[in-house]
């Protein structure tokens, strides 16, 4: 019977990934069929590139230590949003004057709109994300350590 055939496939966990991948493939086709979608112009955190700025394309802050404007969902929840962006370390400021596109990641210096969003407005994401990393590393480390001690 067809039902028994289906159950036989589904009950073997080696087949689960192919079945899931097939479902995803079908879903991709369906998504393609549903295209085009309307892109909402009214986005949060819009990015506009200031052509002449020395901080192009990262110029969100304007002069250092002045609060910048950020379009967030609930501005009342993060009153200090836009302040951190405006801060550059002296050397970063110097760098930014020499060249574009350098030294604006979180690690490089505290600044840039990315960390602003990550911290002030989408902070819970930031908590969940390193937690995922932490858990994954804990698993890997535990398994590895156990194998070592055996």
């Amino acid at each position: 019977m067809i039902i028994q055939k289906i159950s036989r496939v589904l009950s073997n966990f080696d087949n689960i990934l192919p079945v899931f991948a097939a479902a995803c493939a079908v879903m991709s086709v369906i998504t393609l069929l549903f295209l085009p979608f309307v892109y909402s112009e009214d986005q949060l955190y819009p990015k506009k590139i200031v052509a002449g700025s020395t901080l192009n394309p990262y110029d969100r802050g304007g002069p250092p230590f002045v609060q910048a404007e950020i379009v967030s969902q609930y501005p009342e929840n993060s009153p200090s949003a836009g302040f951190v962006t405006a801060y550059l370390t002296p050397f970063s400021l110097f760098l930014s004057k020499q060249t574009l596109y350098m030294g604006t990641t979180i690690v490089a210096h505290p600044g840039g709109i990315l960390d602003e969003i990550l911290y002030n407005t989408r902070g819970l994401d930031t908590v969940v994300e390193p937690s995922i990393l932490f858990v994954a590393f804990a698993i890997a480390a535990y398994i590895f350590r156990r194998e070592e001690h055996r």
Binding site: S28, Y45, F91, G103, L114, E129, I132, A136, E148
Partner: protein, 206 residues
């Protein structure tokens, strides 16, 4: 007519491309039987999802790609370790963590030097943090006795630091400078401990 140029905006074209890529990846996954290749293929398909996120096109996309990327990498790491264990690929497990290997290895020196130089270039508090950690890493790798537990604890501490500074950000915005520095150090510690974890796990070939 849906083929009207006005409706087929850049976003939809981008989505079409991304989902076509995903479709190809998933189709490959459907027929792949080897466990290792499955893992690699999934990593490939993940890239398509990052493309879909990138199509949001605002700074939000940047903020979303980072977690998206991290999830992929994290699960990849855990799964590959499980794969190693389940297939029994653990040869010479003791030698790999052996201190002699680390002593003659130039890797800590190079990494530390890079870190110190990069930290100096960056300047400021964070740069100092990087440079300092580079030195700490150098010292740690020199006196590394194979106690894996220390690295795990360090990783946990950095995670806690990162989360704590997030909460400072959230609830005491006037302390933002402290929070910023805390998280900067947290993420640095995190990256460094995890790099060294990976390094210790897969180590150098015999």
């Amino acid at each position: 007519m849906i083929w009207d140029g006005a409706i087929w905006n850049e976003y939809s074209v981008g989505l079409a491309v991304a989902f076509t890529c995903a479709l190809i990846g998933f189709a490959a996954l459907t027929i792949e039987r080897d466990d290792l290749h499955k893992l690699l293929l999934i990593d490939l398909v993940e890239t398509a999802s990052l493309a879909v996120i990138a199509l949001v096109g605002t700074d939000l996309a940047e903020a979303l790609i980072l977690p998206g990327l991290v999830v992929g990498i994290a699960e990849l790491l855990a799964l590959s370790q499980i794969y190693l264990t389940k297939e029994g690929y653990q040869h010479n497990p003791v030698k790999r963590l052996n201190i002699e290997v680390m002593m003659i290895s130039p890797a800590p020196v190079i990494i530390s030097t890079i870190l110190v130089v990069y930290g100096i270039i960056l300047s400021g508090f964070t740069g100092g943090g990087i440079a300092g950690l580079g030195i700490v890493f150098f010292l740690m790798s020199r006196s590394f006795t194979g106690d894996f537990h220390v690295l795990e604890i360090a990783s946990g501490v950095s995670w806690a630091l990162w989360v704590a500074s997030f909460f400072v950000f959230m609830f005491f915005p006037e302390w933002w400078y402290l929070a910023l520095m805390g998280s900067a150090i947290g993420i640095l510690l995190k990256v460094i401990t995890k790099m060294s974890l990976v390094g210790a796990m897969w180590g150098e070939p015999e």
